[in-house]
Symmetry: C2
Subunit: 237 residues, 2 copies
């Protein structure tokens, strides 16, 4: 790239990165609000979370369009190319996180009348949400600062969320066993926990993409994985 | 594009399309095998479904790389550009379908000892799988033939899968109510049904992308949606 092209490329990349940060901002709001709905059953707030999905989708399309134009116009290579491709991947993971937050809000809403039915369940879901929110904020920071150290930390920290999901999964099953009236509520909470756990997985994907953008290789080693709810280590009754 | 560029572009596009078809082929196998594992609890088959995920991921990266090179080299516009961007989106949905099939195989495996515990549940899951498989085959055919009519049919047919998921959701809750010993098994089956329903959603996404590639606009009208399990129309006990 000549100097002019390089400058133009940097400006376009900055615009893409700005849109990704805008997406992340909306989604952080969605996660926080969905968690709030779990505690309060607040209808108005739930509808806001659901409505924000259109905004996220529109931003994702903008990132995609801008990225494609940039690739066609500037024909970037090496780290520059990874930067644009990485942005595409990140916007995709962010969009999925937004969908999951929307789904949590919907489920929280229908379970509204059962709130506090089982002490502590929604509290623990909120705790999971907080951890995910933290992960998301850190990984977006890592993306903006091209900080692979923070990306690696996020990558490792996902285990804690997985572990919480495991223990909540077992706990919810015991509540179902205790009283059949808990079953519908607990089934929805199972999905909420799983959704939040998957948000964490997407944050981990983003951490991998940040590492790829900066280093051009994958993160070394196997992805730490503590979600065993679908891996056969469950107790059976 | 001059004639030489146009020919080179067509060849590259054909290669991308070929990789997408290869991905779809692996994933169709995964869905069929995961469904088989639901019926048989066959460990070896389940492990094959899980192992195929690496192959799918590798193919997705290849589509992505090839698409990016094509955009940079040929600077396509209008329908040509939509073709490449559409391929990126489709490979992404396919990758998610593969993940979901893998998850069904894992859950089927841990529930193996409970098979046939509840007459008909695994049969109905298999029926859902068959419908999804049909949808996937049709939508990939629509992609290859640029056939928006078939894409629209796929788009509409997703409602049937959603409806099956709804009725299975209710049915599973009643089995949980009837006998606490069913709860663990049924919780896994809830996730299996949801996973299969989401595979259908991704096939619907692909139908929308095919329409976008050919027409340059979105499919008219609201997406038909019959999945109400997260929308508050559940019976409460």
């Amino acid at each position: 790239m000549d100097e002019h092209t390089a400058k133009a490329f940097d400006a376009e990349l900055k615009e893409i990165s700005g849109k990704i940060q805008a997406m992340a901002h909306v989604i952080e709001q969605q996660i926080a609000s969905a968690s709030e709905v779990l505690a309060s059953g607040d209808m108005v707030l739930a509808k806001q979370v659901i409505a924000a999905d259109n905004q996220v989708d529109a931003l994702q399309r903008e990132v995609e369009e801008k990225a494609v134009i940039t690739i066609a116009r500037r024909q970037p290579v090496a780290v520059d190319l990874r930067d644009v491709v990485g942005a595409l991947r990140i916007s995709n993971d962010l969009e999925r996180i937004g969908d999951l937050a929307e789904n949590v809000a919907k489920r929280a809403l229908i379970s509204a009348q059962d709130f506090q039915a089982i002490a502590g369940v929604t509290l623990r879901l909120q705790h999971m949400s907080e951890l995910v929110l933290e992960q998301l904020k850190n990984v977006i920071q890592a993306y903006v600062a091209k900080d692979t150290g923070t990306a690696e930390e996020v990558w490792r920290a996902d285990q804690e969320i997985d572990a919480l999901n495991n223990s909540l999964f077992r706990e919810l099953l015991t509540y179902m066993l205790e009283n059949p009236r808990n079953i519908t509520f607990c089934a929805h909470m199972l999905f909420c926990a799983k959704n939040i756990e998957r948000m964490g997985d997407h944050a981990t994907n983003i951490a991998e993409t940040v590492y790829y953008i900066v280093k051009g290789t994958s993160l070394p080693g196997e992805r730490p994985k503590a979600d065993v709810t679908s891996l056969g280590t469950l107790t059976k009754d």
